[in-house]
């Protein structure tokens, strides 16, 4: 898994790439998110457009992220969820929990509306 952080005004976009499989990936994601939240970020988008594959441990990373952001009184949304991730979110019924958007732009726009 590769992780890139971008900031659009007050929105943090975490771009994930490759396979997301828990273990060390979780630590990388958690650390980056924590640093950003400590820095005062409240609006977070996880861009999953370049994620090839994700297993259930990878799903744990997103759940952990959501909890951390909510604990910091922020919001976390998902953008560009691939078919595999959509199916995981459907099976686990987390689709009720995560707000998902077709593009990063629409996800960013949803924060200001």
């Amino acid at each position: 898994m590769k992780l890139k952080s971008k900031i659009f005004e007050d929105v943090l976009v975490l771009e994930l790439k490759g396979k997301i499989m828990g273990g060390p990936d979780a630590a990388i994601f958690r650390e980056e998110l924590k640093n950003q939240l400590d820095g005062g970020v409240k609006k977070v988008i996880v861009d999953l457009g370049k994620v090839d594959w994700m297993n259930s441990s990878g799903l744990g990373i997103l759940i952990g992220g959501l909890t951390s952001v909510r604990n910091a009184e922020g919001e976390m949304k998902l953008a560009r969820t691939t078919e595999k991730i959509k199916s995981l979110l459907m099976i686990t019924k987390l689709i009720q929990v995560f707000e998902t958007f077709e593009s990063v732009e629409s996800a960013i726009a949803s924060f200001s509306s």
Partner: protein
């Protein structure tokens, strides 16, 4: 520890050392017997001169020879120390090549050292488990009372300083040294040398003497040689401890595996009109998959399959907790949604946000042949009907342990005669890795359709076999569990 072959080796080395370190610029006798012979001849010469009555000549002769004897004696002393050191090092080397305990090696080291570099107290110190602290592993010349007093402050003293700087310290007078932490009141000088391997400081050897300026430059060199051997001894012990720990962990894992497999059903229930079969293959010694048949009363049986996120012992512990929580709740209530909501709360309160469980729980009434279930984010079970049509059991709510108060729905379905219900975990459908290679639900459905005439256990085994072959070609490695319920 003395060994005749060893003496031979150290003897040879002594000769080599002698020839290379002899003071060739001064004409000196190098053996004690020669000194004695010279002393005899000097006595004769002096007697002759004194008989002639010339006291000045006697003094001149004495002064001239005095210098030479001083050199000779210093040289003999140096040679003796060297041979002592070589013998000590050879002994230690031999001990290191054998299976001798660390304690024995270090004791031999510190006792042998006293013959080469005399001390009044000595210790070998290593890092303590408590960060920043150090502790003694071998000690000589300290009383228990003295040790108790300074054990807490050890890291602040000379030994601590040497271990953090990796540089030796020779303190000729401890009373003039601010970092000296007094342990023995009579100590006047101290010498400490680090025990180093690669870039790691493993510990230090510390000598104390009751004399001021007791330790000389050459003593530092000897102590460094000994410290190099101590480093090998400590490193060897550390590697050995790691091996033992790995072996212990392996044993503990086996025990955990045994405990866990005891928590899974040994035999499927025997209920007229039904056939049950299940298989569980953990990826590691301890898995996070769980399935169970829980008898409620004569007409009702609870069916559960669950997958704890992650693998190994942590997942196994959550699985054991889940099983206990589920079984106690099933004893007190029938409502599947109440049970699942309650388990969700239990896991939400007792685990971190990244620990979650997907679970399917249903109660099968074997009289009405109805299954009332709730699917909490678990891979959707497949119901193959007698006409070959497939129903996917998805009603329920989100996975367990991450959302505080989610809503769970329940559904009741009828199991017609000739139906096959297959429950499984993600290790089955996700086998093979990336999604174009994934085993997938369709292949599971194909196997059920092909083998629906067989016994439940055989269907479960066929699915697991197919997945295992698929997984070994593509490979992800996850726990695999399949549970099959057939209405005959």
């Amino acid at each position: 520890m003395r060994h005749s072959a060893l003496k031979g080796i150290s003897g040879r080395e002594n000769k080599l050392t002698k020839s290379s370190t002899a003071h060739t610029n001064v004409d000196l006798p190098s053996e004690t017997s020669q000194v004695i012979a010279e002393l005899k001849s000097l006595r004769e010469e002096l007697r002759e001169i004194s008989e002639n009555g010339n006291i000045h000549s006697v003094c001149d002769k004495l002064l001239e020879r005095f210098d030479r004897f001083e050199w000779s004696l210093a040289h003999i002393l140096h040679e003796n120390t060297l041979s002592g050191e070589l013998e000590l090092l050879s002994d230690i080397g031999l001990m290191l090549s054998r299976a001798v305990s660390l304690d024995e090696v270090l004791s031999a080291m510190i006792d042998g050292l006293n013959k080469v570099v005399p001390y009044d107290a000595a210790g070998i110190f290593i890092h303590d488990d408590e960060p920043g602290k150090i502790r003694a592993i071998t000690l000589r010349g300290y009383s228990e009372e003295q040790l108790d007093k300074f054990r807490q402050k050890l890291h602040e003293g000379i030994s601590g300083k040497v271990m953090s700087s990796a540089v030796e310290l020779n303190i000729p007078d401890v009373l003039n040294e601010s970092s000296y932490v007094s342990c023995r009141l009579s100590t006047r000088s101290e010498l400490a040398v680090p025990i180093i391997i690669g870039d790691d400081v493993l510990g230090c050897i510390n000598l104390e003497s009751d004399k001021v300026g007791a330790f000389k430059e050459e003593n530092i060199l000897i102590l460094k040689d000994i410290a190099a051997h101590a480093a090998i001894a400590l490193e060897r012990a550390r590697t050995y401890d790691k091996l033992v720990a790995a072996h212990e962990l392996e044993k503990e894992l086996q025990i955990s595996r045994r405990i866990q497999s005891a928590l899974l059903p040994k035999n499927p229930p025997e209920i007229p009109g039904y056939d049950f079969g299940g298989i569980n293959v953990p990826h590691q010694d301890v898995g996070g998959d769980y399935y169970d048949y829980i008898p409620i009363n004569s007409n009702n049986i609870g069916l559960v399959i669950a997958d704890v996120a992650g693998k190994g012992v942590p997942a196994g512990l959550i699985m054991s907790g889940l099983r206990a929580a589920l079984r106690t709740r099933i004893e007190t209530t029938y409502s599947v949604t109440w049970i699942i909501s309650s388990i969700n709360r239990f896991l939400y309160e007792s685990t971190g946000p990244e620990a979650f469980v997907t679970a399917f729980y249903g109660v099968l009434n074997t009289e009405t042949n109805e299954l009332t279930y709730v699917n909490a984010g678990h891979n959707q079970p497949i119901l193959m009907k007698p006409d070959g049509n497939v129903e996917i059991l998805k009603t329920g709510g989100p996975l367990l342990g991450v959302i505080e108060n989610p809503v769970y729905d329940q559904m009741t379905i009828k199991l017609e005669s000739g139906s096959t219900l297959v429950l499984y975990t993600d290790g089955i459908v996700e086998a093979g890795g990336e999604y174009e290679n994934e085993f997938g639900i369709d292949r599971v459905i194909d196997i059920i359709r092909e083998r629906s005439g067989e016994e439940a256990a055989s269907i479960a085994g066929s699915i697991d076999n197919a997945v295992s072959q698929w997984d070994s070609s593509y490979g992800t490695g996850d726990d695999r569990t399949v549970m099959v319920v057939k209405r005959l």
